[in-house]
């Protein structure tokens, strides 16, 4: 079991040191929300405020989401869990943040819970990445010996469906979409400004919530996240109507890994899969 209290103490201490020492100008981590079960993402700028930081099993947010808000050159310390650290790596690969600007506070954590239902969500999202892949300071201890299945295990049920059943499934899920765009806004990799959905010339999809516009939005977003999705599950968690977007992203990630031999956000030396090609790519991938 993850020692949340210990991590929290370490996080506060580390944030205080970094801010006092002037190594960073801000720390991105978690603070208490309106109650204990509902923490909020927070930014700490003064060492005295570091005591407000918390870390518990409900701190599911991917803090890498906030990195691209600050101009390049801002010295930032960011608290990241396993999958979140992959987002940082991916952002470095894409040149959105610089490694030198960051102090990565890695948090190995299992047993993270959904705030609404209290259900443990590890298996749904970051099954394989319990320990951060890149960090400067490790808060807590690395976790070993937890039997982590493949992150793609949850896909079996959907891959087993025939195409008509799959279409029926997604059609039903997308029908609920209210186009609040929480999925793209919660996503650490969705930093485009403007997003293709906000463009009016050309208008890629209807602005009103029609079914075909919703289909266009989600399918295109799945494509835009191809080779970049780091499987943090934020899109599904943010969705107010519980559309399991992470399943589709996982499927795309799985195919990318199989075809291009590289998972997103594992190594800062990698090039993003879709902005690259290799000599050994073959036409077989076109089916």
């Amino acid at each position: 079991m993850t020692a949340f209290k210990k991590i929290e103490d370490h996080l506060r201490k580390e944030a205080k040191n970094l801010l006092e020492g002037g190594k960073v100008t801000l720390v991105l981590a978690y603070a208490r929300g309106f109650d204990e079960k509902h923490p909020v993402p927070c930014v700490v700028k003064a060492a005295a405020d570091a005591d407000h930081l918390v870390f518990n099993e409900y701190c599911t947010y991917n803090m890498a989401r906030y990195l691209t808000r600050y101009p390049v050159g801002t010295k930032i310390a960011v608290a990241v869990k396993g999958a979140d650290s992959r987002a940082v790596v991916q952002l470095i690969q894409e040149g959105k943040v610089r490694r030198d600007d960051l102090v990565i506070l890695g948090i190995p954590a299992t047993g993270m819970k959904n705030q609404k239902t209290g259900e443990v969500i590890d298996a749904k999202t970051t099954a394989s990445t319990i320990n951060p892949v890149l960090y400067d300071v490790l808060l807590g201890d690395e976790i070993h010996g937890v039997k982590a299945g493949s992150p793609y295990d949850v896909l079996a049920e959907f891959e087993g469906m025939d195409k008509d059943a799959r279409w029926a499934f997604w059609k039903k899920e997308f029908e609920r979409c209210i186009r609040c765009y929480a999925c793209r806004k919660a996503c650490p990799m969705c930093y485009c400004d403007p997003c293709f959905m906000d463009a009016s010339r050309p208008r890629w999809a209807d602005k009103s919530p029609t079914d075909d516009g919703t289909l266009m939005y989600h399918l295109t977003r799945f494509y835009h996240l191809a080779g970049r999705c780091i499987d943090c599950g934020e899109c599904s968690r943010a969705c107010p109507v519980d559309i399991p977007l992470h399943l589709f992203h996982k499927k795309v990630a799985k195919e990318c890994e199989a075809m291009f031999g590289q998972a997103a956000g594992m190594n800062i030396e990698d090039k993003p899969a879709m902005a690259n090609f290799k000599g050994e790519d073959s036409d077989q991938m076109l089916g």
């Binding site: 929300g33 909020v40 765009y181 919530p209 968690r237 943010a238 107010p240 109507v241």
Partner: protein, 344 residues
Amino acid sequence: MKKIAIDQFSELVKVLAERGPLYAPVKGKEGVNFQAIKNPADVTLDFYNTVLSPKSVFFPQSEDMIRYRITHGATEAQPVPQESRPAVILGVRPCDVRSFEIMDRHFLGAGVIDPYWKSKRDNTTVIGFAFDVSAAADPADFYNTFGYGAADPEGSDVFMVRTDKALLLKSMTDRGKKLLDSLGFLQVAGAQDEKVFEETVKKGKAVRTRSAEINPQVIAKKLVSVFDNGEFWQKVTMACIACGACTYGCPTCYCFDISDEMLFKEGSRKRFWDACTFTDFTLEASGHNPRPRIFQRYRQKVCHKYSYHVDKYGCISCVGCGRCTRVCPVNIDIFSIVDEANKL
């Protein structure tokens, strides 16, 4: 006052659904939400509150205003006929019922009458439904702040209270009375039931949610005075990711966008929900955006609800249902922000 046994509730639903459009809570994968009822068995009364607000009954997320077609260079356009059948919305929680009155002030009381809202509102009977007064309120709720109780019948046409075996239905308006009178199979409630109803309303007053002293006139001025306090707004809205979940969940958010959408020479002019937190909400044709930053947009949301709305319509545009807090992906809590601003 009338009553009906709980096991006969589906009978009531069936009759109402046959007469005209009936909107009631239905359990879906995401939770319970209001839907137009096709199958009476879908309706559920086992819920705390719906995920999204009942405003969609009067103010659908997307609504055609004009439909048109282009033939040989000429455009034929027709306004979309408005629904005129009497409808019923059943199972609205007391705080949400108040939201209709607040929206009325905007859609009907601003000097211009909105025909889309009016036609639906005029034809719809609202059946309110008391919260379970023996249970605690959701931690996100704060309707006590506005003086609402968990079983306030005010605002509903008919108010419904659930007891162990029966549903008590009390008409609060003429429209409600007409509806109940037309439902011959309802039993007449006895003096004992009347007492239970009154007690429930009283107990509802004792259900505690989060609450703060917020005087509309005072908070309206206060927010204007802290408008320029960028540091405060940036601090409280830092987590905001600028999605529209809070707005779409809110029972009193009425901003909409209008767009012409056409396919193969046929199309419609639509109005559909928009959210002030979106990047392109204030984007002008020139490319200039007066509110480019998230804290500016969230500040607009708070100030609109708690300040500008008070100035214009005399009341706060919030009922404390707590939906914005519950659906927020990052748990931003408007109540805490207003409370904090109030204390500055």
